[in-house]
Symmetry: C2
Subunit: 338 residues, 2 copies
DNA sequence: CGTTGGCGCTCCACGATACCGAGCGCTAGC
DNA sequence: GCTAGCGCTCGGTATCGTGGAGCGCCAACG
């Protein structure tokens, strides 16, 4: 749709603008590598590019700035064999060599690491596993009327619920209930209604029933946080308007917005959403780069980067791709022989 | 040290500055309630206040701005019977009426709630309980070589560690190890070296030993996050310099800085630290208001607010006090009959 | 016919200037 | 000791002018 020269010019404009954040003039582009034309020619071409919606002028007789459509073309024309810079590869290697520990910690650390790697805000979203095999269910009596339900899923996710019982219950009863629950529920699928047949002791059954009820995710009893955001402070450097910063940070704090944003982008088969392409209005000046990660061959979550529309797409795409892959590997560790 | 009139003038200046963020002139103050003097008199007094370090002029012949010392006097002269506004009380009531669920979730929700209540950033720091009674310890086999250790403490804290075993271990062995671990460790104090005598099966002992080792907090195996920060986006509105915002957000992401900051303020017996009073340089334009909360009469953590030096101290103090008290109550629920 | 050099035009950014008003310090009088 | 008033100092804003970046258009050229 764009001839070679227009494409080259558009790419040059985008690159220049990403570097400088200033409207790009025809002269700057005419000296771009791979282009040997006069600025006048560039002007003509830019004119056409503007007519076609790839560029805009902030005002008459100023340089050009890419539109979302312009960025989109730029991103789509990137060669997919992105490679990280050596120093970044090194960082990735040492991080994942040292990284260990429990799932939540791992995801949270990864989000922070990715933010540091790219200098943008990073998100890690853990898919709620469905179906999720229950590896362990246990009841712990905290006080006479409060019992903690701890469920471990096959992925290593630990779900917690407190049960508040109507009447005080002895620790022994809780122990019995715990055993009974474990016996009937382990191996089942989390999130589906579960049946535990009544036992001989009604007291025990009360506790078990409460636990089973808590296992079925209700409308408000949503799961533990499944989003990990790192490097929000980096959004402050990305914009110069305080209002924009505030909006973006605000949105970043609304976890469900983030989750559905990431999900939406993935569902549309994209790995990059630019500016208004995603529907989230307060993030109109932002782009998001996502890549799902897989544990043992199954999709398990997504890592992503949120940055200004004028972000370094090539490096970010590479970083997100590499980190998602390595994260998946790290989480699959020792699992291939299940 | 300050006569009544100077104190009244200083208070008026601080209040006015907090509202307007503009240097306060003598005329504005002379009409303040409780003051019936001419602006000239106010000027004289302000002059003295500036000489004594309570006020500064941004430049010659401008109004006055409070110094940290000025804020300090203001805060210290607040009557401690702060009360929330009715609408806020209502919010607190409904929040804690609806609030339930597991400890971590509770603390995280509280930080967000407090941020919304005050319109500043809120932090909740959970003290690492010491000594912490172990209520439950359990091993769950995730893969043949990876075992998840789940420990429940008396406070309801759930600690998780993954153990990577050198050799594949059968689930049955893990089960045995889990039972053995529970038998010997429940009731002990978390964080101290624990002894589990060797059993008849060396295989089981290997797993148990790994678990015991993981229970002793090593230098790098620090605990799960114990800080919950809410409302960071509100810091963006508090300042107009992007650089400041970035610095503050940066600092807010460094959890250990936050923890030691809060701890430090409490250790000095303060409930408010203003500007440079706390040593954290990037937060020089911020004040922090803290209040510890108690569960079952024992200190269990701290809630706090981070805002600009020119924050609404009276309301914030009240909010922090109320929320810390209610949080403590909520977490003690059903515990008085232990 | 595409490309290019050139010309004129537009508009922003920046500095200089002037002006206004807020607010102070000081002093003289009550 | 308080107050009214005067003069002075600055910062903020508006106005103006200028320089330069960059465009659009056109005519000429290969």
């Amino acid at each position: 749709m764009l001839d070679d020269r227009k494409a080259a010019i558009l790419r040059a404009v985008v690159e220049e603008y990403i570097e400088t954040a200033q409207p790009v003039g025809s002269a700057a582009v005419s000296h771009a590598p791979g282009l040997a034309v006069s600025s006048a020619t560039v002007r003509n071409e830019m004119n056409a590019l503007e007519r076609d919606g790839y560029l805009v002028q902030p005002h008459t007789s100023a340089g050009r700035v890419p539109t979302d459509k312009g960025y989109r073309f730029f991103v789509d024309s990137l060669t997919p064999n992105q490679r990280l810079e050596p120093s970044q590869s090194e960082q990735v290697r040492t991080f994942f060599a040292r990284a260990h520990g429990e799932l939540e910690r791992m995801l949270s650390d990864t989000s922070r690491f990715l933010a540091g790697l790219t200098d943008y805000a990073a998100v890690v979203v853990r898919d709620s596993e469905d179906p999720a095999r229950i590896k362990s269910a246990q009841l712990v009596s905290l006080t006479s009327q409060v019992v903690l339900l701890v469920v471990v899923l096959a992925s290593g996710v630990v779900e917690k619920r407190t049960l508040e019982l109507p009447d005080p219950v002895d620790e022994v009863v809780v122990g019995a209930a715990s055993a009974r629950l474990a016996a009937h529920v382990v191996g089942d699928t989390y999130g589906r209604p579960l049946g535990v047949p009544p036992s001989a002791t009604p007291e025990v059954d009360t506790v078990v029933d409460a636990a089973v009820a808590a296992l079925v995710p209700g409308p408000d009893s949503d799961h533990q946080p499944q989003v990990y955001v790192g490097g929000v402070s980096r959004m402050a450097s990305a914009f110069d308007a305080v209002g924009t910063i505030r909006q973006v940070l605000d949105t970043l704090e609304q976890q469900y917005v983030l989750v559905s944003l990431v999900k939406d982008v993935l569902d549309r088969g994209l790995s990059v959403a630019i500016g208004a392409e995603h529907g989230v209005v307060p993030l109109a000046d932002c782009s998001i780069v996502v890549a799902p990660y897989e544990v043992e061959g199954e999709p398990a979550g997504t890592v992503g980067i949120l940055g200004p529309t004028r972000m370094h797409y090539e490096q970010t795409l590479a970083a997100v791709a590499v980190v998602s892959r390595r994260l998946g590997q790290a989480l699959s560790k020792g699992a291939e022989d299940r």
